[in-house]
């Protein structure tokens, strides 16, 4: 199999991904590793969680890997993304490409990480300075809606019951 994609709750193994893309016809292997960083937009970050729409995310990852294979003569692609809670320094995402020569591996790896970030339904929640936030596009949305939602849906149910009585 020339394309491997996976969302995982466990740690990402660089060795395992390398073994998946190694091929005797390939003289170049390029890795991109996204690492949990201690800062975001000038605010301290202590940890992260990632949440995904899993079936769609894996399908989209496979789709962009196919697109890369159409555009560049690369041999094998492996892409893995973490979901769940991650500490600083952990690998959040890994993209590995092998090809006969380095140029196409470098270019397609760069394309793959940009496309993954833009097209794959994965959301990041930051824990750190000032509280907990969902990162949704350019927005940092405070992650404190859970309780509000419950009280408001009870309110809405109350309103519906009231209307039914009328």
């Amino acid at each position: 199999m020339n394309i491997y994609v996976n969302l995982t709750e466990g740690p990402i193994s660089v060795d395992r991904l390398l073994s998946l893309v190694k091929d005797h016809s390939c003289g170049g292997v390029v890795f991109f590793l996204g690492i949990v960083r201690n800062e975001s937009h000038g605010k301290k970050v202590e940890s992260l969680t990632y949440e995904a729409y899993k079936p769609m995310a894996e399908r989209k990852m496979e789709g962009i890997a196919r697109e890369a294979m159409d555009r560049w003569p690369v041999k094998k692609i492996a892409m893995e993304h973490r979901v769940g809670h991650l500490s600083l320094g952990e690998i959040a995402v890994a993209i590995v490409v092998s090809s006969p020569h380095r140029k196409e591996a470098l270019e397609s790896c760069s394309f793959l990480i940009d496309a993954l970030k833009a097209k794959v339904p994965i959301w990041k929640q930051e824990f750190g300075e000032g509280g907990v936030f969902w990162i949704e596009g350019q927005e940092r949305v405070p992650s404190d809606h859970a309780e509000k939602a419950v009280s408001q849906s009870q309110e809405a149910a109350g309103k519906r019951a009231h209307r039914q009585q009328l």
């Binding site: 990632y50 729409y53 970030k117 339904p121 994965i122 929640q125 949704e136 859970a146 809405a156």
Partner: protein, 89 residues
Amino acid sequence: MKVKVYFFASMRERTGHEEIELTLDDGAKILQVMEALEERFPAVGEHLRICGVALNEEVCDPGTPLKDRDQLAFLPPFSGGSAISEGER
């Protein structure tokens, strides 16, 4: 007909649900689901309108008609979304 609706990230918190099942009139469109959600979950407010919509795991237009057992997902802007504007610049 019945459809499943999935929520993620802040939308999951705003609704208090990961997924719900809705019963709709035949011929209903995604827009009607959005109206029903806005009434049932006031905390959703305007935020529903900035979400992408996926029908059976493919991004689609809110005008799309639904059929029985469809799976609908409301997708807040993805966390890596800034890469789009960087790429387009």
